[in-house]
């Protein structure tokens, strides 16, 4: 395709680029501000001088947080929850999506099962009924309370199901002619070509598990079992109060006192809380388009 580079076109391109740059900045500058605050000394922060570059650069806020056991514990719970949670989600999604991606001819009960799952999207009970079920199944105060109730994310399952349905049928038929069963076909034929959609729903699961906070607050009985986001939501870290109450402060910690305040440690905590997501998602980004679109529109 040839593009005529008329004058108007060039002007448009320049403006368009400028506008998109502005938009992109709008999306990340708040984080840059947060980051700058977290690396700044508390005095310029209090004086509102910090914008996008740290003033009085130091890492005391991070050291302070990373030396606090509570934060690290919560981080550990979140990692554990996310790793197990995503694995459970994926296994269930794949095992459920595959049979449902069959035609009515190959799997006669398909329609009924599809409805069985879809209804749960349409109709959701409130938090108290769910709480009672979690409690009766003995999951309270266990990491499984954060994983099993949402073990099968139905929406993601539908995305994968639609994707599998859009795969060329010849591929599958050939496999059956070779004498392979459903399990073999699923693992050796379907899964390898489903990478984009699996990667996409894996990211959804990851984000969901990492970001959930309400369930942690409600199902966990003690603060040391809170995942990170619940911890961030309920535990207000006030370094000044911390130093007041600490009795045997290590020398390292006491050095921080002059540099950090609630705002810098809060910024550092928030930033630490996003790192895992920021680190992982760009690698999965290339799959979004194929994974999402092929999965959401009926093939």
């Amino acid at each position: 395709m040839k593009i005529k580079n008329s004058r108007g076109r060039i002007v448009f391109n320049v403006f368009n680029f400028a506008f998109l740059t502005f938009t992109a900045l709008l999306c990340i500058l708040p984080f840059v501000n947060l980051l700058a605050i977290s690396f700044s000394n508390k005095m310029p922060v209090v004086a509102r001088e910090v914008t996008f570059l740290p003033i009085g650069f130091n890492v005391a806020a991070y050291q302070f947080i990373l030396e606090s056991n509570a934060f690290i514990t919560a981080l550990g719970v979140s990692v554990q929850r996310t790793v197990i949670g995503v694995a459970v989600n994926l296994i269930l999604i794949i095992f459920t999506a595959y049979p449902l991606s069959k035609s009515d001819h190959e799997f006669r009960a398909r329609k009924y099962f599809s409805w069985f799952f879809v209804v749960t999207i349409l109709f959701q009970a409130g938090m108290i009924p769910l709480y009672l079920v979690v409690r009766y199944t003995g999951l309270m105060n266990s990491i499984w309370a954060l994983i099993l109730p949402g073990a099968l994310p139905v929406f993601s399952m539908l995305v994968v199901m639609n994707y599998m349905r859009s795969l060329p049928q010849e591929l599958l038929e050939a496999s059956f002619i070779d004498g392979a069963g459903h399990f073999t076909t699923l693992f050796y034929i379907v899964l390898p070509v489903s990478t984009p959609t699996i990667a996409t729903v894996a990211l959804f699961s990851l984000v969901n598990h990492w970001n959930s906070w309400f369930d942690g607050m409600v199902y966990m009985n003690t603060i040391d079992k809170y995942p990170l986001q619940s911890y961030l939501r309920t535990v207000v870290i006030n370094p000044e109060a911390f130093f007041r109450n600490a009795t045997n402060i290590s020398e390292a910690l006491s050095r921080y006192l002059g540099m950090v305040n609630a705002r810098t440690t809060n910024a550092a905590q928030l930033f630490l809380g996003m790192i895992p997501i920021l680190a992982i998602y760009p690698f999965l980004q290339k799959y979004f388009t194929t994974g999402l679109v092929m999965g959401s529109v009926k093939g």
């Binding site: 108290i128 009766y136 003995g138 003690t222 207000v236 000044e240 109060a241 009795t247 609630a262």
Partner: protein
Amino acid sequence: MKKGLTRVAATVLALSMAVACGSSNNASTASDTTSADANTQTGSSAAPPVDDGPLTPYAEPVTVTWGVQASQVQQFFDGDTYDDNRWSRLIKERLNIDLEVAFSADITTDAYRDKLNALLAAGDLPDLFRWADRNFMTQAYNAGYLMDITDVFNQYASEDVKKYQTAFPDSFAGASFDGRLYGFPYMNDNFHQAPYLWIRDDWLENLNAEVPKTLDEMVALALRFTFEDPDGNGADDTFGLALDKHIIFNNYGTATGILAAYGEPAYNQGMSFFYRDESGKITSPYTSEAMKKTLALLKTMYDQGIIDPEFITKDTATMEPDVTNGKYGMMYHMNWGTWHPFNFSYQQSGVITRPYAIPTDGANPYKIGIQSSKTGDIFMINSAAEHPEAIIKILNLYEEVCVQVPNDDDYLTYWDNEQYRLSPIYVGIPTELHTQELLDAFEEGSPDSLAGSVKPLYTQMKGFEDKTDITTSGYGAWGQMYSDGADGGGSCVIALRKYRPDGAYIDNIMSVDQPEIYMQNSSVWESMMETAFTDIIRGDQPIEYFDTFVSDWLNAGGQQCLDELDTLYPAS
């Protein structure tokens, strides 16, 4: 193992309840009396062996589970934690009772309340838990989750602990239903909830200002604190009066002190305070003319810039750093302001913030609302607890160590620096009640006449007076409260020598029994009230909007609530 058992037991119980009540479903007789009966039976059926004294250790270890009101304020020494600390070790050693933390949640945010309500819905309450909400207690009682501890208490409580029943009959009434005891009250004589106007010493001095006696003087001083750079840093970064987003709540940073000056008593969250006015009518102070005047005054102060425009985001937690960093010159607060938050600014910069009797209106006699001594924090025991007597034994132990005080070192180890909070149950702090004794002893110049647990207070009081004790305890904890100094004295002294004799105190009439409509709608009323008041102060609505709020409230069940209270608490 224990956990598994409780779970099985609770499930079986829930199932059997479901079956049992399923059969009587048609009769629809499920009423509160049935559940009350169930309570009584559960309590008395746990009949313990007879040869068992108040502090007799168990031969075999027993476990008690409890709920922790966690807080950043809690101090831990020697690597203590909520699970393993000086109290849990003492209790194990002396009584052979294992403490198990069933849940912990932060008490300075909504987390503790949310968790407790969720546990209530599921019936997963621990053996022992503490909460101050009568609505919650009533629901837990109706649901049959509370144990009738009357008999256990009578059998196991030590003589010293039993005496509280006669010393604090109202508190015990507040922990009872139909004359049976369903919890151990945190015994407050609530006079110390009264508001005081706390003012920073250094700012007063810097501006060479007088302590305000009237509201007008208070506003004038607040203006000066706002605009005359009282901290001398050259920046316009101070506010005259601190205000919490709840506006009218307890007395922590709220305007309840102004309402009091205008002659209406109020205390506590939401629209939960009612009293009979002179004509004998049940009244809600939040809908009174005095409230309207209070809002008008706050609006003026807001417009003048005396009140931080960001007050709507301030609560106890967010105000703390502001106070520490010297943002406010004055604040209405209770007796215990000396600990929190003013000892933080003391520690940060050596500034003493003093309480003064609230400035008055001149035209009206001031009235101070306090909670009925029947309401307050209560330690409740789960009806499914296997060893309620173990909990009473812990209480006996607490009484011995921290109230009778056979040993000063123990007292300091187990009580001082908030360590008493690590005991799962404790005798509330009726320490304020010793004010008169302390003042007498101070006059005599000798602490010898004082009870064991009061003696350290004498030392701290003395330390504060002659400025020899600059520790947290001397300033922050107690010294200042009993101070008999020249400026009218510490907060306890003001209460004793001014508020009491002036006849200012008025109890909340609503205590144990709450109207159904109140329990159902109180959260909605609370948001109606806070919204209307915030709007008026910030000028989003004119002051006349107050009348709209009042009629809206009356229509939204307010009138019904007043009527029901009239029946529930008949005029004597």
